[in-house]
Symmetry: C2
Amino acid sequence: MRFMEEKIRAEGKVLPGQILKVGSFLNQQIDTAFLKKVAEAMAQAFRDSGVTKILTIESSGIAIATAVGLELGVPVVFAKKHKSSNVDGAVYTAEVYSYTHNTSYTILVSSDYLKSTDTVLLVDDFLANGKALNGLTELVEQAGARLAGAAIAIEKGFQGGGDALRAKGVRVESMAVIDAMTDDAIVFRS
Amino acid sequence: MRFMEEKIRAEGKVLPGQILKVGSFLNQQIDTAFLKKVAEAMAQAFRDSGVTKILTIESSGIAIATAVGLELGVPVVFAKKHKSSNVDGAVYTAEVYSYTHNTSYTILVSSDYLKSTDTVLLVDDFLANGKALNGLTELVEQAGARLAGAAIAIEKGFQGGGDALRAKGVRVESMAVIDAMTDDAIVFRS
């Protein structure tokens, strides 16, 4: 989507370690007019997929997932990153390895909120190596639900996670795919 | 607001320790049709307050804050709970004591996203002892911004945080205020 590429060029900042900082509009601070455009485009892409539920992971995916949920008129569920006192009963869990923090963490969602009758759209702000998204697909599998696909704001294509999921047959729709990134330049997939 | 009280009575669950579980519609799983009503009511309450920015705290406040930001057409900023690799530059910080976890944590927001020219509306899902909301007001003070007030989904009135803030002159608008809660009954403030 051209509008996402333009926004990244206008406001994104490349930090050491191939980190793309989009705190001014996508996380930390959310530009709600821009968010609305993102959500409309994501909803449009999956409007005919029979989505009954959106699944994301706390915390930076929540804003986008909420906006898409409002567009599609379906509930949003967010997987938590570790056991909280507010989760009781049966849960689905998956292990996610974080390259950023060089450690694994557990994501979990209550079995009350993911059912075998659900068709689930995964939504997240970033897709890089795909570990988080793989964890979310595991939760969907454990619930016996159908996976409609994944809607991603920014995919770091050069880290391969998106293409690996596509090779497994998962429909991944990213608003922008970055194929290369240096301090001076960002190359988007055409 | 009657609609919030009805939803709590219909779907809320009281857990030991006076915890009100609203995971089916407000956190964990978000009922987006209901969220839209909440956001409209919060936006209505502060529509004439000149709000330029919404401030919340990760992660359970983000969905509501995003929905209110979409209604009011202003950016949403979320305070993070500890230093992340994606925050660079100057930050405002405050200490928040958590009774739930019996420990203090730091909340922080980049000074890029809160300015002295801002009029800030605080949004959160719960208000109990008010520690989190007090921390957010500190961030607003550090930025030299104006505080429009706070919009809260559910206030546990019996824990006193809301009334303490009101006594200090902060406008607090809660969609439901619970004055007493037992395993069998929830008493709302009329």
